[in-house]
């Protein structure tokens, strides 16, 4: 049986287009469904008011703030470590046991189920440190989750820098470190920023690792008090903080407000929109910085 190869080629191409189209439809359906379900809550009041006990009409302001602050804190920890490890792997690492060990560890950390990281956090960051359920404990657990990703992103974008730049710099008498610091990092910066912001977006939706570390309650926040040491200050890193993803999980599980359903749907929609904003924002800023550096 011989089929015309040209016809087969056309059919195959058609199938590839169909599969690709299928993924777009799936995404549109998914995002559309979540936003449609949450449409009633997509207003300013929902994201600017606090949850109300046992009554309808509560908002998600503290949870939203906690999510942003927790991701920010964990990025403060993750980025320096991950970037340094990325620099080491991309620039200094030789093909030896130490390098292999690092790579193995990154992969092992990356494949840990986040619930396991959460439980590790419970015993180490919550109980052993004596801090209790705090933003800080959550941020540290989140950092373990994000470290492998940031390291990989850093290594990839540093490796992406063309060797000719590097050789030119070394030939001019700069040390390896000067070359990295003054040349390679700036050139790789757009890619780095895109990767970091995207990781932050993903961290935004993490719940399992935070259930047992940052806690499932949010004490009343006083948004007029910005002293990081005050108990009710939103900036205090040593207070319990329920994030948006955890809140969705909790409302689904044990929510008692009569409009628990709508709150969960609305929060999910906000979460998806945030992921969108992070995604588009990361590209935009990555490109903006790229253009600025190349002098356009």
């Amino acid at each position: 049986m011989r089929i015309n190869p040209k016809a087969t080629d056309k059919i195959a191409t058609g199938i590839f287009y169909l599969v690709a189209l299928g993924f777009i439809i799936l995404l549109v359906f998914f995002v559309g469904y979540i936003i449609y379900q949450g449409r009633l809550r997509l207003n300013l009041n929902f994201i600017t008011s606090a949850p109300v006990f046992m009554k309808a009409g509560g908002g998600i302001a503290p949870q939203l703030f906690n999510s942003v602050y927790l991701v920010f804190l964990s990025m403060l920890i993750t980025v320096p470590i991950g970037l340094s490890a990325g620099i080491y792997l991309a620039e200094y690492a030789k093909q030896n046991r130490f390098t292999n060990a690092i790579r193995f560890c990154i992969e092992a950390l990356a494949s840990l189920p986040s619930i396991v990281i959460g439980l590790f956090g419970l015993l180490v960051f919550v109980t052993m440190t004596g801090w209790g359920y705090t933003l800080m404990s959550g941020a540290l657990a989140m950092s373990i989750l994000n470290l492998p990703v940031i390291t990989r992103v850093s290594e990839d974008s540093l490796r992406g820098v063309s060797n000719s730049y590097k050789e030119a710099s070394l030939a001019l008498g700069a040390t390896h470190w000067q070359t990295i610091y003054k040349l390679i990092i700036p050139v790789a910066l757009p890619g780095l920023i895109t990767g970091i912001v995207m990781t932050a977006g993903r961290a935004f939706g993490e719940a399992a690792a935070l259930l047992y570390t940052a806690g499932m309650s949010s004490p009343k926040l006083d948004f007029t008090n910005w002293n990081p040491l005050a108990y009710s200050s939103p900036l205090n890193p040593f207070r319990p903080a329920e994030t948006l993803a955890v809140y969705i999980w909790k409302v689904n599980s044990e929510g008692l407000a009569p409009d628990a359903r709508q709150i969960a749907d609305g929060s999910a929609a906000i979460l998806i929109i945030t992921v969108f904003v992070f995604n588009i924002g990361s590209r935009f800023f990555g490109r903006l910085i790229g253009n600025k550096l190349s002098g356009k």
Binding site: Y33, C105, P113
Partner: protein, 302 residues
């Protein structure tokens, strides 16, 4: 070397170099601590509760709540292992063809669309939180399976479908990476010989990229094994080995998430859950080793 240049070198080379090396070391340290921690918690089942390893791994008797009067707790986790393997395996079967096809589309058929549209699309899929995946699964997929395939809806099939969507970005991205590094020479040679694009993809590109694609598949499998919140919401969590893909079942991560908070630490029940977490870690080590094997083979044949 003069003293001055030594200081110069220290400031401009060794300092930075030591710092980044130190953080590389730190990564290793964190991993070792996590492994040691999990190992010490996970070994309690065998060391303190004296459960034989073979019973733990190969028994289907799961009665951790049983009192001393009835013969004491029995912790055999075979059902959960089988559940994890079946659900992840089915998810892989569903996801791989589509993911690889998408990767080929993105690299060979329309790289422009691939970069402009599908790269962001994949990233958004990655960014959707697993709580949301689970919730959509529960409200859309479970009733859909119940109405169109039969059964209760809470099923292995529903779990695998949710997982299939969740692991496709991993498989597609890794596959696309390995497809994109195939040199143009091969392709051009094939086209010069009069081969069609499909023929070239099938006979040249796909075989060359196979090790990379397999790496993606194994990474996807690892992700499927470790996923917790989403799967748990749709598989029904009946403690049994499913008779068909429409039966409800349970896996390792579900039993850990469900029981961990409700059991007190140090009890045989809680210890068994930690042993399962350790088992998950060992399984991911196994996957990493497999990936390295594949990678090495790929290097040899290329």
């Amino acid at each position: 070397m003069s003293k001055k240049s030594k200081i110069y070198n220290f400031k401009h080379e060794y300092l930075g170099r030591s710092v980044v090396t130190f953080f590389g070391l730190l990564l290793i340290l964190i991993t070792i601590i996590m492994v040691l921690f999990l190992a010490s918690k996970g070994m309690a089942t065998f060391l303190d509760n004296h459960v034989p390893l073979t019973q733990f791994l190969f028994s289907t008797d799961w009665h951790p709540e049983r009192g001393i009067a009835e013969g004491g707790p029995v912790v055999g986790v075979l059902i959960f292992i089988v559940g994890s393997v079946l659900i992840s395996g089915l998810a892989l079967l569903i996801s791989t063809p589509f993911s690889v096809a998408l990767a080929i589309f993105m690299t060979e058929i329309s790289p422009k669309l691939g970069k402009k549209i599908f790269q962001p699309v994949i990233e958004i899929f990655v960014g959707i939180p697993s709580v949301v995946y689970g919730w959509v699964g529960l409200t859309v997929l479970v009733p859909f399976v119940r109405n169109h395939f039969g059964g209760l809806g809470f099923s292995m099939l529903a779990g695998s479908l949710v997982l299939a969507v969740m692991i496709f970005p991993t498989i597609a991205t890794v596959s696309a990476d390995s497809l994109s590094i195939i040199t143009e020479d091969y392709k051009e040679a094939s086209y010069a010989l009069g081969a069609t694009r499909w023929h070239t993809i099938r006979k040249i590109i796909f075989p060359c990229a196979l090790p990379g694609i397999l790496t993606g598949v194994v990474l996807g499998l690892a992700r499927a094994f470790g996923e917790a919140l989403a799967v748990q919401m749709v598989i029904g969590n009946s403690i049994r080995i499913p008779g068909s893909i429409l039966d409800s079942t349970i896996n390792l991560t579900s039993i850990i998430t469900m029981d961990m908070g409700n059991t007190a630490m140090g009890t045989p029940w809680n210890n068994a859950l930690w042993s399962m977490a350790l088992l998950l870690l060992l399984i991911s080590f196994l996957f990493i080793l497999i990936i390295h094997r594949i990678g090495r083979k790929g290097n040899v044949s290329a």
